[in-house]
Every structure is written in structure tokens, then in C-alpha cells.
């Protein structure tokens, strides 16, 4: 959890907006540090978290969360965290010989054309089970975290199927269960020459349209800098009756135990 980001977004683990769809995207940069922020944020807030880890292993997130002060192993044991080990389990799914169990969560690895229904059933199932803990603890509103969604494009799933999946998730998580959703999408460079019909840019545009808050991370437009790792654009989109469309850009630097955000031009390296 990064305190500076909390003050920028005006949210704390004790009071945050519900039914929120937050989209984290990046272009030629790495925005995964924001996913670590949200993971520790929602675990501290006592929410029930469903994490689809499609690109890294559980031990990676666990090691980083340890430095941010949250223990993922404990949260998983208590039932607060449901973790889908996408990367490690996908090999077994890809190489197995039998074609049964088509609605497994990772069935898209074997048959990418069939869509993401199995994955959605997994998410829905784990979120509707809230309140079933051993000690009878009831967790806060459910939260879905996905890292990262654009890897499904690399596996052959179509943009339409992914957008259908997010729409179903939003309907279930945000509207029905009053929970939150945080999705990471990694985009490619804008190429003016060839229009990418099936690309991650199309996916990102579709998701930005659905979301409430969009955080976009990019490198600095002036080039590579060792002290400022990039810029983050925060776009507060319309929400309910208040139609406000505010955008702000911040610079950031990622440390070992967190990230610091500052207004443009106020980095300590410059001043």
C-alpha cells in the first residue's frame, strides 16, 4: 500500500468507494507495482480478494507483499484470499491428453477460441462463498484483481471474448455484490500505419469505457531517466450522477518498499 497514492486517490483501507472498476494500464512501462499496491490495500481493508495471477507465481506476490506488510500465505489460509495460479498450472492444462473438463478455469489455454466462461465461473464461485470461513468471519465487500488481462491475447483469446468476460465480472462484482474490480492491461505502442483490430489497444479502449478510474503508466516523454521511473495519468471518469472527467499526471519512482508520487517537475533529482 502506498500512502502517497492513497492521498492522491482519496481513499484509505477504512473508507474507499465500493462498486468501483479500476483499470490499470501501461505502455512501454511496467504498472505491476500498482497491482501490488491494490492487493495489500484491499487485504488490509479486510475485503475478500480473488486474485487471478496469470503472469507470475504466488511466491513472487507473496515476497513483495511481505515487504509491504501483508502476509499472503496467512490470508490464503484464513480464506480471505483466493489465488488462481495461472502461470504454473497452465502447463499441465496445455499438455494433458484428455479433453474432458472443458469448463475448468484454465480451459482457455487449451481452446482459446471457446471463450472465458470457465474463468468467470471460477470467479463467481469464489466470490459467492463469502462468509464461509472456519471462524465464521465475514469479510468486507469482494474484490477481483487480475494481473494481467492482456496475456490472454497472447494465448489466442479474442478481444470480444475478453470484453464479454469483464462485462460479466462487472455485472456480478460491482453491480450485484457491491464489490470492486482492479484489472491490469498492458498495451503496445500506437502504430499509426497498421490498425490493430485484434490488439491490446482495442482492449484497453473498451475497458476504459467501462471503468470508473483509469491509471495509465508510461515512460517519460522526454526519454529515459534513472531517478524518475515514469509518469502516471489518473483519469477520474464519470460515476453515478456526478459526471466529472478529471485527468492529472504525476511522476513516480518505485523503491524497494513502495513508490513515491510527486507532481511533475518536483522530483528531488531536479530540485
Amino acid at each position: 500500500m502506498f500512502p502517497e497514492l492513497n492521498s492522491i486517490l482519496n481513499s484509505t483501507p477504512d473508507s474507499f468507494k465500493s462498486s468501483d472498476f479500476i483499470l490499470v494500464s501501461d505502455r512501454r512501462a511496467d504498472a505491476s507495482f500498482l497491482i501490488h499496491h491494490y492487493l495489500s490495500f484491499y487485504l488490509r481493508a479486510g475485503c475478500k480478494v480473488c486474485f487471478l495471477g496469470l503472469v507470475q507465481s504466488f511466491s513472487h506476490y507473496s515476497a513483495v507483499s511481505q515487504r509491504l506488510g501483508v502476509s499472503l500465505a496467512q490470508a490464503r489460509e484464513k480464506g480471505q484470499l483466493v489465488f488462481l495460479e495461472g502461470l504454473k498450472d497452465s502447463v499441465g492444462v496445455l499438455l494433458q491428453e484428455d479433453t474432458s473438463q472443458e469448463t475448468q478455469p484454465l480451459s482457455y489455454v487449451r481452446s482459446p477460441g471457446a471463450g472465458l466462461e470457465g474463468l468467470f465461473r471460477f470467479v463467481e464461485c469464489s466470490m459467492r462463498q463469502s462468509g464461509d470461513g472456519d471462524a465464521g468471519e465475514s469479510w468486507g465487500p469482494p474484490v477481483l484483481l487480475i494481473d494481467d488481462l492482456s496475456v490472454l491475447l497472447s494465448l489466442g483469446v479474442s478481444v470480444g471474448a475478453i470484453l464479454d468476460f469483464t462485462l460479466y465480472c462487472q455485472a456480478t462484482m460491482c453491480s450485484e455484490l457491491q464489490g470492486n474490480m482492479v484489472i491490469l492491461v498492458r498495451c503496445e505502442e500506437e502504430d499509426a500505419d497498421d490498425v490493430d483490430e485484434e490488439g491490446s489497444n482495442l482492449l484497453q479502449r473498451g475497458l476504459v469505457h467501462q471503468c470508473n478510474l483509469a491509471l495509465h503508466v508510461e515512460g517519460l516523454p522526454t526519454g529515459y531517466c534513472r531517478d524518475i521511473h515514469g509518469q502516471m495519468e489518473v483519469w477520474w471518469r464519470q460515476r453515478g450522477e456526478n459526471i466529472y472527467n478529471q485527468r492529472k499526471i504525476f511522476h513516480f519512482k518505485v523503491h524497494d518498499k513502495g513508490a513515491s508520487f510527486f507532481a511533475r517537475g518536483t522530483s528531488s533529482a531536479v530540485l
Partner: protein
Amino acid sequence: MAAPVSGMAGSTSTGNATSFQKKPRRKLVSIPGTRPSVQNGQLLVSSGVSSLDYVIGGGLAVGTLLLVEEDRYDSYSHMLLRYFLAEGVVCGHELFLASARDHPDEIVQELPSPIVDDVAGMKISEGQSQPSDPENPDTMKIAWRYQNQPRYILFLSCSFSPLPVPYHALLKSIQTVIRKEGFDGSTPQSKVRNVLRLGLHSLGSVLWGDDVCCKDNPAHCHALTTFLYALRGLLRTSLSVAMVTVPSHLIQNRAVMGRIIRLSDTAIALESFRGSEKETNPLYKDYHGLLHVRQLPRLNCLSCEVPDTKDLAFKLKRKQFTIEVTSECLSIKWRQMKGPRLLLKPHHWPLIKLSVVKLLIVNQEVYCLRRTSSLCL
């Protein structure tokens, strides 16, 4: 006259001077050829080229994938692959080599010998210069090749796998080796733990049955990316390191290349000067090509190794491959620009107008490009 020690100890203690006991040292199982990283304790192996290790953050982390974008004629990337394998032989690691073009035995015959820092005798022992040593037949397991594939395999559609047959078979073979030899920890304690080095040559080329390199809209556009995703999953669950070379200059679709880079952990690209106009550029006369670091991994930590500079060039001298920083690279753009340059002295600073002026710093002196003669300096 010294009193006996036991008498000197006094009444508070017994024969032993202290009640502390030395903790029995646990025998740490360390795998040969690996060392922990200073940043995050990750287990690192060397890539075979020490200057490359320095550039990518100390070495290759065990369980990760290094992607090398080949240079145009696949000379230096092939050499990097051979250095990687040779390092494995010297450290005693297990090797898995897959190539669709050359026979793996031929590649293994040409592995470079280690550099001996022996001033007295420059002779290298015979056993090391011939890695296919009959005395140690199981230090290396050469696994695989595909040559002379029958044509029908390319047309066979695997209904149960999104991967084309060569990639599927390669993945299956890697998984079998990892399971059988116990790199994923499934063997009993008696076997000494070792690292498996995987060298996969020229993935994505036509010889692997993939058409991502020869068509704008390939039919198998997700084959290589799915393979790399599954390979990384395998690597994460075992004590292995993989080096994959890809002929990126043949891949027309930049989006696919971007995905391939993001699916690997460390990614570098080699650009050789051979055959390009940079070969005759006097600034590059010491070097054979440029090295671009495309991506560095963040493993078990939030921040990754941020390099000082991105201007790196490599050279190959007497079979030693070194990578150096070239600050002279900056001045290339300047020499191509017309117009005289002015060396700025401190008394010029107050006179500089707030216009966009390009500054160049060479050898701690600041130059500025003189736009017109009417510049007020």
C-alpha cells in the same frame, strides 16, 4: 606464576568458561555454479559472458527466461548461446539444447573453451576442450533436433492443442526431462541438486513449423507466445534457466514482438554492424555491434535493476565477447548535424536565451549547437 585456569574462573562458573554452546553449523546445500544475488537473494547463474551478467543485474536468475533477439546473420546471438552452454559445462550443470537448423552435436563440438588465467601455461586441459567427454557421459544430455521433417507434419492439425506439433513436442520433452531428472524437486534427497540450462535456438523461424517470421498475418500468430508462456510456467516450477533466441528482424508484426518480449523475463537485442553503414563509421570502429536491453525482470521485489545508461555496444576480440558503454554514441548524431558547435564557458550561462538549445556533454564539457551566426554568445 600462573594459577590454574579452573581456579581463576571463580566460583560462578564450572569447568567451562561459558555456558554458551556453539551452534552446530547447518550444512548449506549450495548448487555449484550459482550464487545469491545481492539485491534480493535470488539464485543467479552466469550467462557465460561476464559483462553481460553485469548489464542484466548480476546474472540470470534461476527459473527465468532470457530472450535474445538475433542479429541479422545470427552470428553473435549464436555465439552467446554457445557461451551460455559452455558456462553450463564448466559449472557442471545439465544442458538441454534444441535446434531446428544445426545438429546439436555440431553445436556442442564448437563450444568455446574457458579462459584460463594461468600465466605460466596457456594450455587448456584436453578434457575441457572436448565437452563430449566419454568419461563423463551424463554431464550433458543433448536432447533434440528437428531436421528433415516430413512435409505432412506441417499440415497436421492438432485438435487438442493450440500449439503446432514441433512446439508441443518440444514442450512435452522439456517437461519430461524436468520431471524425470527431478529438477522440480520431486526426487529423493540423495540426488545432488543441479540446475538445468535450456538453450533453444531460433524459435519462431520457419524450421520450427511456425510462420510468424514469414507472413504479415500468420496463421500461427499465437503459437510462439503460447509456447513462451508455458515455458516460463515450467521454468518457475523447476531449477532451470532458459536462453531462447528469436529472429526478430524477420517478424513483421511489431505487436507480436512486443508480446514476446513481455512474456520473457530478461530481453536483450543484438544489432550487428556487419553489412550496414555503421560498419564504416569511425566512431564504431572498435565495436562489432550494439546491445539493446529491452527488458529487465522484477523478481520478488517491486523495483528492478535500473541501468545507468542504455548506450551499450559489444565487441568480439580473440574469442572474448565484451560489452561496453559507449558515450561516444551520443556524438554521432551531432557529427551528422551541420553547423559549428560552440563550447560553452561559465560566462556564457547568463546570456543563453530560453530557447530550445540542444546541449551535449562530452568529457565533462558542454557543447551547444550554434544555430545561426546571430546567436548572442
